[in-house]
């Protein structure tokens, strides 16, 4: 009855608009996947494990406390044994589905027998049942989960179209396309290619000079030269840092309740610096995890102690939220901080959902709750308290352990820290207790429900912890970068791939476990991971490999055939086409108008923001209870320098899916909403940029159409075609005729940047509207 109702409801709610295209279809009963033919050889890793994990593991998986009938299906030893409750029966009998309880139960019609039971709200599709049947027929062979086996470098596949590949990546991509009968797109035209490249490497559109140089450069390696130039641009470090700030949940406030100000930005400056000097990924992470435990000949506390830069890097693990709420039970919150670090380590660095084992054994992956707390132990020895201070003055802007950055540091080893004044500057960093704080399993994850004591260690199913490593965060880094670790390199190259191609080779970058998506190109992922390790974890080299591939350089045009056969572009038979990140939307607007302030780093800034947002949500306490907007150059900084108050994140960025930096985030959504349209149409940032660019153009001696073409090139990074020019010029002429004096005055009164006195205001307003229109084009904020 319920279903009948659902059907009626659906029809009712949509009948007016789309009802007609449902009619006649409701008798369909199979989905696309169901029709797909079964593979000749069923693969455990690719066909069976996803079913067992998703539909069976909750009761027959790794979690010992929730296991039903003593049966575990994720391990062959248990699955082939006689069943506990029916010793004559077996869950699996190789080659014999009819004798295998698994098959009998999943194919049963009797609801008292069928698996999964109806109460679980889970159900197998008919294809899934057939797959399991065939797998049993073929011998029911298990394989270790692909992501937990160290990658080996596969040989390059052979392809028919030998002239297409530009580097090794392309062989893997082309081979899959040829298998499916697809051909790659042609290379994108030069203008679009350079825009894509520039946005991907610097987060900024190319300047006109750069574009003209590239268009004029007919040498065969013109593109490689452009890549090299952009990799040397300091904006590269900023672009690469942004994703890492999401991973590291970096923000400028403490995050809870009163949400007071914090000065963690020197750590952010270090991240930019590290990317620009191309710090190797293993060092980059080791410093952040264990910089305080490193020893350096010129350490700040004498030889054998870390440098101040290494110490600053550990701010990574102190970026989490810290409470300043009066009633807090300190231990409850201290435990949360340790939990946050442990979960980030799992999700951001290892690409597994360790957090699921916080309260109980993992339901899908082979991580016990004990292993969770063994990992937790590495992060549990910090010299910190759950609540150090309630909201207050400069002394509360960092919590202990902390470091002070003095002016000599900024003149020397910390020269990349953009310290503006001589005030005291403190940053939260890592530092362990002299004695070891004991770690216990916390039952149900409750901070005060102690179970057994545990020692630091790592999940055995990933890689056992080498006895020679110290049992601290430094040892943990060594374990992470052990060549036998199956996850570290794969997870990072996948994140970088995602940055350039819009989605990862594994579409769930934070979950390489049983419930994660399978890689679309497993051999390529392994090849990239091993190659990355073989070349010393060199990030710039990896980035260059990606952007110089023929795969990356394809045009993004979607033919109707490809939209039909590969709507999600899994086979990459066309170039990536995506809306750029929130911060880069802002950067593009400021940069193309000439307003962008290219200062790197320093305290975060407060540009234009609608009134009353902080005031409406605040408790009334602290520096961030009222939004005091900045002026002058601070209004025109890159989006990544906008102050992030966690409880009220910057609205124009949040609307474009920026992270709220609450927790580690490794993949942003890319949504398309009416609120985004309102930002682009009405945000003073966009309007001011339109006015400033229009004024600049009006001061040039040229015809209106030329001005419009130039604006178009600056903003969209290509020359407009005739239709576009004609349309925009007609719009300009029409506005010029109809604008009234009062409307002109009002339109121009936006933003604080001065208007040049000699400019004709009516023309300025008309041209400003044209420029705003160009800013609002879909193509403008899209890399295509």
């Amino acid at each position: 009855m319920r279903q009948l109702f659902r059907k009626t409801y659906y029809l009712l709610t949509t009948v007016l608009a789309i009802g007609w295209f449902i009619s006649g279809c409701s008798s369909h009963s199979s989905s696309l996947a169901d029709e797909e033919k079964l593979p000749d050889q069923v693969s455990y890793n690719f066909d069976i494990r996803p079913i067992l994990s998703d539909k069976c593991s909750a009761c027959h998986g790794p979690d010992a406390n929730k296991r039903e009938a003593g049966l575990r299906l994720d391990q062959p030893e248990s699955a082939f044994k006689a069943l506990k409750e029916h010793p004559t029966a077996h869950a699996l009998v190789a080659g014999k589905p009819a004798l295998s309880e698994v098959f009998l139960r999943i194919s049963a019609t009797d609801t008292s027998v069928i698996m999964p039971p109806p109460s679980s709200n889970l159900k197998l599709s008919s294809r899934e049942i057939k797959l399991i049947e065939k797998w049993i027929k073929q011998g029911a062979t298990y394989e270790k989960h692909w992501a937990f086996v160290a990658p080996k470098k596969p040989a390059l596949p052979t392809v028919s179209r030998k002239d297409w590949p530009k580097n090794d990546i392309d062989y893997f991509i082309l081979q899959k396309q040829e298998q499916k009968g697809l051909a790659p797109n042609d290379e994108a035209d030069k203008e679009r290619l350079l825009k894509r490249l520039s946005l991907d490497l610097t987060g900024l559109p190319p300047t006109l000079a750069m574009m003209d140089r590239f268009l004029a450069d007919k040498r065969p390696d013109a593109y490689e030269k452009a890549v090299d130039d952009l990799l040397k641009n300091p904006a590269y470090g900023e672009k690469m840092a942004l994703h890492w700030l999401d991973v590291a949940r970096y923000a400028d406030s403490h995050g809870y309740q009163d949400d007071g100000y914090r000065t963690q930005w020197p750590w952010r400056d270090w991240v930019i610096h590290a990317f620009n000097k191309n710090m190797r990924y293993n060092d980059f992470v080791t410093w952040q995890l264990a910089g305080d435990l490193l020893s350096s000949p010129n350490g700040f506390g004498g030889p054998g102690t870390p440098t101040k830069e290494q110490l600053l890097a550990t701010g990574f693990n102190r970026n989490h939220k810290i409470t300043e709420e009066g009633g807090t039970i300190p231990e409850e919150y201290r435990t949360m901080y340790v939990t946050d670090r442990t979960d980030l380590f799992g999700k951001g660095l290892l690409g597994v959902t360790m957090e699921c084992a916080h309260c109980h054994d993992h339901k899908y992956d082979p991580f016990s709750q004990k292993e969770y707390y063994k990992l937790f132990a590495f992060f549990n020895n910090v010299k910190e308290v759950g609540i150090e201070s309630v909201i207050g003055g400069p002394d509360t802007y960092a919590k202990k352990p902390l470091m002070e950055i003095c002016d000599e540091d900024v003149q020397g080893i910390l020269s990349f820290v953009n310290k503006l004044d001589t005030n005291k500057l403190i940053v939260s960093v890592m530092g362990d207790l002299d004695t070891t704080r004991k770690t216990f399993i916390l039952k149900r994850g409750m901070y005060d429900a102690y179970g057994d004591e545990v020692q630091p260690g790592t999940p055995a199913s990933i890689l056992p912890f080498n006895k020679d490593y110290p049992k601290n965060r430094l040892g943990l880094s060594k374990w992470m970068f052990d060549r036998k670790n199956p996850l570290t390199a794969r997870v990072y190259v996948n994140q970088i791939w995602q940055e350039f191609f819009g989605k990862g080779i594994v579409k769930t970058p934070g979950d390489f476990g049983m419930q994660g998506e399978l890689p679309s190109h497993p051999e390529l992922l392994d090849w990239l991971a091993v190659d990355f390790m073989e070349h010393g974890w060199d990030v710039k080299r990896l980035v260059k490999q990606l952007v110089t591939s023929a795969t990356y350089r394809q045009s993004a045009v979607i033919s109707p055939e490809k939209l039909q056969t590969d709507p999600d572009n899994l086979l990459l038979a066309r170039g990536p086409r995506y809306r750029i990140e929130a911060e880069f939307v802002r950067d593009l607007v400021l940069s193309s108008s000439g307003l962008l302030n290219r200062t790197i780093g320093g305290p975060s800034v407060k540009p234009y923001q609608p009134d009353g947002l902080w005031e409406g949500a605040t408790s009334g306490r602290g520096l961030l209870s009222m939004y005091v907007q900045d002026h002058g150059g601070s209004l025109y900084r890159r989006g990544m320098y906008t102050l992030i108050k966690r409880t009220v994140p910057p609205p124009s960025l949040a609307i474009f899916d920026a992270s709220n930096r609450d927790l580690c985030e490794i993949r942003r959504l890319k949504t398309n909403t009416p609120l985004q349209a309102l930002v682009m149409l009405n945000d003073p940032t966009v309007l001011e940029a339109s006015r400033v660019l229009a004024a600049r153009l009006l001061q040039e001696r040229s015809a209106p159409a030329d001005k419009i073409n130039r604006a178009f090139r600056l903003i969209v990074s290509r020359k407009p075609n005739e239709k576009e020019t004609a349309l925009l010029t007609a719009y300009y002429e029409k506005e010029l005729k109809t604008l009234t004096k009062s409307s002109v005055e009002k339109s121009l009164a936006v933003g604080e940047y001065p208007i040049p006195p000699q400019v004709d205001k009516t023309k300025l307003t008309a041209l400003m509207r044209v420029v705003t229109t160009i800013y609002n084009l879909e193509e403008t904020i899209t890399k295509s």
Partner: protein
């Protein structure tokens, strides 16, 4: 068996078959606007849930949640405990207190003297419900209310407790209740956001609110709560810039659409057409939102009903009236937050003012919905994030005291939306410290709200990072006793 077939026939992945039909892009894009998650691949519709469609016939279509931020004291409002007056100043027995953990504010306190309410209570209506003299207007509508005196929660501080009530989890970036409903039920009005948020503040000790409370979490950001604020720009960036009239805006959008269409012809990317649709919706919102925010056309009797404050933008009363208008216009979930209920000290003075701030308008909203015939399909909820202690925090004097946070029991009320009217549900013990009968956990409450809207809380799921998430996490049961 018939059920099975239907289930399959209907459920067999509507997304796939819609997208498989080679129809014009227009219809596909339209479908995705009506039911925003229809084309998303990460949903969990294979198990009996298709975003945008309820599981069974709903009793309510919309929710208005009057959140009393800071935790109102139940002892001074609804939970009448004459025994506390008798025991005034006596230490709370340890058998009653049990092992309840205390906040950092009273953990160091040496004595825990019980304190009776300074205010008197009377019984009202046919239900004979007790209501304190602080809420004279609410007292008059008790026969429309279901007062639940046995709510309990797990958190003892504001931030985690608020987050728990709104998202089902104390920590973590989970979707808010309004986002879940938007995801589960889709949109009734294409020109207004589906989940709106209104903020106000009383004079009492204030605790902040945070936008994470109306966050979409891992759901599509179309389900995010949209804050409507007082002033000229009720929705962020809504207003056209100074000097631009509607015809001029229209002209710009027409040009824009033509230019975007040129781009679509070149690239063939459906995202481009979707973008044009979003601009059109933004354009319609620009008229629809100010229309709904305009209270000037409300007749005098309505203004009188809500009280004169309702003409002052940003007050609780104005927000209640606005909530009715939004709800009436099809907004699925209207969430109000009224700050200032955190009476650790100086309680008698502060709560009197605070109660006066909300009493008339809260009751007016219920009455107003009822007289418009909308109360049946609108669920109104009134309450805070936890309760307050029966013993005093700080010094107890003859006429002054405070109360600390208390998770073990608190009172909320619900009205309309298929909830039994004129009912008092659940009891606390005579000291008002522990629940004596019919406990309602936060997840039970959430399960019940979803149920009234036609959603099974165990099936309203979203798969994220390998796990199926629910508003009610892993527990919760519908409280059938309070369903009409």
């Amino acid at each position: 068996m018939e059920k099975e077939i239907l289930e399959h026939g209907l459920n067999f992945n509507r997304r796939r078959f819609l997208s498989r039909l080679s129809l014009g892009l227009g219809s596909a894009a339209l479908g995705s606007l009506l039911v925003p998650d229809l084309f998303r691949s990460s949903g969990a519709d294979e198990e009996g849930f298709t975003p945008g469609i309820p599981h069974f016939a709903p009793k309510a279509k919309r929710v208005i949640y009057l959140f009393q931020n800071g935790a109102p004291s139940q002892q001074e409002l609804f939970d009448y405990k004459p025994k506390l007056r008798e025991l005034m100043g006596q230490e709370i027995p340890s058998s009653v207190r049990g092992t309840q953990r205390l906040t950092g504010m009273t953990a160091g306190q040496k004595e825990f003297p019980l304190v009776g309410s300074f205010v008197d209570f009377k019984q009202y209506g046919q239900s004979r419900a007790w209501v304190s003299d602080l809420l004279p207007y609410t007292a008059k509508i008790v026969d429309d209310l279901c007062i639940v005196k046995s709510m309990y929660t797990e958190a003892i501080n504001h931030d985690p407790a608020l987050t728990f009530l709104q998202t089902g989890s104390q920590q973590g970036n989970r979707p808010s209740m309004g986002s879940w409903l938007s995801y589960g039920l889709g949109n009734e009005n294409k020109n207004l956001p589906n989940f709106t948020v209104l903020l106000s503040r009383g004079i009492g000790n204030g605790q902040g609110v945070y936008s994470k409370l109306w966050s979409n979490g891992f759901l599509d950001s179309i389900h995010q709560g949209v804050q409507f604020s007082k002033g000229e720009d009720p929705v962020l960036y809504l207003r056209d810039p100074e000097g631009m009239n509607r015809q001029e805006r229209r002209a710009m959008l027409d040009n824009l659409a033509q230019l975007n269409d040129l781009s679509y012809q070149e690239f063939g990317d459906p995202e481009i057409t979707a973008k044009v649709k979003q601009y059109e919706m933004a354009y319609r919102m620009q008229t629809a939102v100010p229309d709904v925010m305009d209270l000037s056309k409300e007749p005098d009797d309505i203004i009188k009903l809500y009280g004169p404050d309702c003409l002052v933008p940003g007050t609780f009363a104005a927000n209640c009236l606005l909530a009715r208008k939004l709800s009436e216009n099809g907004v699925r979930f209207v969430q109000l937050y009224h700050q200032g209920w955190d009476q650790h000290g100086n309680l008698p003075f502060e709560i009197t003012k605070q109660a006066k701030d909300v009493d008339q308008a809260s009751a007016a909203l219920v009455t107003d919905l009822k007289q418009r015939g909308l109360l049946d399909e609108t669920l109104v909820i009134w309450g805070g994030e936890f309760g307050r202690t029966s013993y005093t925090q700080g010094k107890l004097t003859k006429d002054n005291y405070g109360r600390d946070h208390h998770p073990r029991c608190f009172t909320i009320w619900m009205a309309g939306g298929g909830i039994k009217p004129g009912m008092v549900y659940g009891e606390t013990d005579e000291m008002g410290y522990n629940i004596a009968s019919n406990p309602v956990h936060v997840h039970d409450f959430q399960a019940t709200v979803l149920h009234q809207l036609g959603l099974n809380h165990e099936k309203l799921i979203f798969k994220h990072l390998g796990r199926r998430y629910r508003l009610t996490d892993v527990s919760g049961k519908v409280i059938n006793d309070i369903i009409a």
